[in-house]
């Protein structure tokens, strides 16, 4: 699939050492548009939409913030810890900068942690919401569609 100049530049910005030390692509050597297209297919096959997933991630991030850096139990279903490091991260699409805010969401029915964890940042929500980009295979911040379905209970 042919990539627009915007996506070519974004893929260059996603390489290790450009914005983050380990980049956004992991071991994935596919063109950015192919990574996105493949994940869109997987999401559709799992019956989840990006919009629904992003909506729940925003909700959990907002609820987690109320813990002021400590973990909080949300709706008796998740334990969420939102933490923030100094500084910002630029979007590889050059459309904004984002605070280094991470949410660690663990599924915990009846308050009992299961070990099913989803980790995402403000930037990763933006990349998912605007570009349907879940990051490349092997990237430490890759968001697996199966984890989205399981942890977010979609």
């Amino acid at each position: 699939m042919k990539m627009s100049p915007e996506y070519v530049k974004a893929q260059a910005n996603m390489q290790p050492g450009e914005i983050t030390s380990d980049g956004f692509l992991g071991d994935d050597s596919r063109p950015l548009v192919d990574i996105i297209a493949a994940d869109e297919e997987i999401m559709a096959s799992l019956g989840i939409t990006f919009e629904k997933a992003v909506e729940r991630m925003h909700y959990l991030m907002d609820e987690g913030r109320k813990g002021l850096e400590e973990p909080v139990t949300v709706d008796g279903r998740w334990v969420v810890r939102v933490s923030e490091a100094r500084g910002f991260l630029a979007s590889p699409f050059e459309d904004g900068i984002f605070r280094k805010v991470n949410a660690r969401v663990e599924r915990a029915p009846d308050g009992k942690p299961t070990g099913d964890v989803l980790l995402f940042s403000e930037l990763s929500i933006h990349l998912m919401e605007k570009y349907h980009f879940l990051q490349g295979k092997g990237s430490p911040f890759r968001i697996e569609p199966s984890s989205i379905k399981k942890v977010l209970e979609l």
């Binding site: 050492g17 914005i19 973990p71 909080v72 490091a85 500084g87």
Partner: protein, 374 residues
């Protein structure tokens, strides 16, 4: 064999070598900016340096360390310097990190500014004291399930002079998929009187490069670089009661501050109310030493609060978010007619929430001190 098989590759190799040489020569001519002068704080210091590199690196090479949480990769927006001479317009890579006011005052990201000509800048005077220290990790231990206490012994008899409450930047080596050395900033938890050590409390941030290294790879005896001291978070010497609030690794600067005041015999000079928030008992630490401190010093009041104490744990202390407990104490327990100063350590969200509570109790913004992360 046909000679053409050798001639073609040889010709291509020769052309490539000539082109590379031309590029190298052109680069040395075009990018040779010669020597430039950096005038700091209206002539307070003048540095003759080689032009061409970025200002952050050049200043560091002369021993002036501008705070930078990303090590100069242009992603943290912390290495701001006010430039008072004309060095051209802001770059697109700087603009997102600067407010309108900073843009109008010609504040620049020093990691993005290439030194091509003489330049005049303004930096806080305290930065002249910042140094890079080589050290060895003397001890690393768990204080909770996700916070480690790290003590670094400075090498070669070096001594550090810092104020309780300030922070340092620690640097970790490449590991795993991380290909570059990485720096992050952490408040000192050690006491200034111990000039040969720097101590830190480092909480694991999921996915964090430096915190993951500290928690999973760092070992006692390994070498480590620390750049310190940074920051303007320290105790103002007044008679006002100190209202201190922290959670997690935000304990670090307060531990340093309290022990510093004990060492200087100042613990009885003013009331100190220290509010520390955690989720469950397993997130609390240094509890015994803080309780002992409270017993030994009449003016020191320690209030730990758990937001979600475990059932059957027997927790008899305060419960709720630390902001709720702070509100309760400011309403009912801390004398309302007492002048107060706020001291906060945490994320912007935590600081905003605490400041809102303090404002509700008529504490003034200019008397609330913190090192906001950004």
């Amino acid at each position: 064999m046909n000679a053409a098989y050798f001639i073609a590759p040889a010709a291509i190799a020769t052309i490539s070598a000539v082109l590379a040489a031309l590029i190298s020569i052109t680069d040395s001519i075009v990018n040779n900016y010669g020597d430039v002068v950096i005038n700091i704080n209206d002539g307070s210091k003048e540095l003759d340096v080689k032009g061409g590199a970025n200002m952050l690196v050049t200043l560091a090479e002369t021993g002036i360390f501008i705070p930078s949480a990303c090590g100069g990769r242009g992603s943290c927006g912390e290495c701001k310097v006010k430039v008072t001479s004309d060095i051209g317009p802001h770059l697109p890579t700087e603009i997102p990190y600067l407010s309108k006011e900073q843009l109008s005052e010609n504040v620049r990201l020093s990691c993005q500014v290439k030194l091509k000509t003489d330049v005049a800048i303004e930096v806080p005077e305290y930065l002249f004291k910042v140094q890079q220290y080589d050290g060895v990790v003397e001890s690393i231990k768990d204080v909770t399930h996700d916070i480690k206490e790290v003590y670094v012994k400075l090498s070669d008899g070096a001594e550090v002079d810092f104020r309780a409450g300030q922070y340092g930047q620690i640097e970790v080596p490449p590991y795993g998929k991380i290909r570059e050395r990485t720096q992050r900033a952490y408040s000192m938890a050690s006491v200034p009187a111990d000039t040969t050590h720097l101590g830190f409390l480092i909480r694991l941030v999921p996915g964090g490069i430096v915190t993951t290294y500290v928690h999973e790879h760092m070992h006692e005896g390994e070498k480590m670089k620390v750049i310190a001291p940074f920051g303007e978070f320290f105790v103002r010497e007044t008679d006002a009661a100190m209202i201190c609030v922290a959670g997690g690794s935000g304990m670090a600067p307060f531990r340093s501050i309290f022990y510093d005041r004990i060492a200087k015999g100042k613990m009885e000079e003013r009331d100190i109310w220290y509010f520390f928030g955690a989720r469950t008992e397993k997130d609390l630490f240094y509890l015994d030493e803080l309780k002992k401190m409270e017993e030994e010093h009449e003016c020191f009041h320690f209030i730990a609060a758990l937001s979600e104490p475990e059932e059957g744990s027997g927790w008899s202390g305060e419960t709720g978010l630390i902001t709720e407990v702070l509100d309760k104490y400011l309403k009912e327990i801390v004398p309302s007619d007492q002048p107060k100063e706020g001291y906060l350590c945490g994320s912007p969200g935590m600081l905003d929430a605490c400041m809102a509570v303090m404002r509700n109790h008529e504490m003034q913004d200019e008397k609330i001190y913190f090192d906001k992360f950004a």
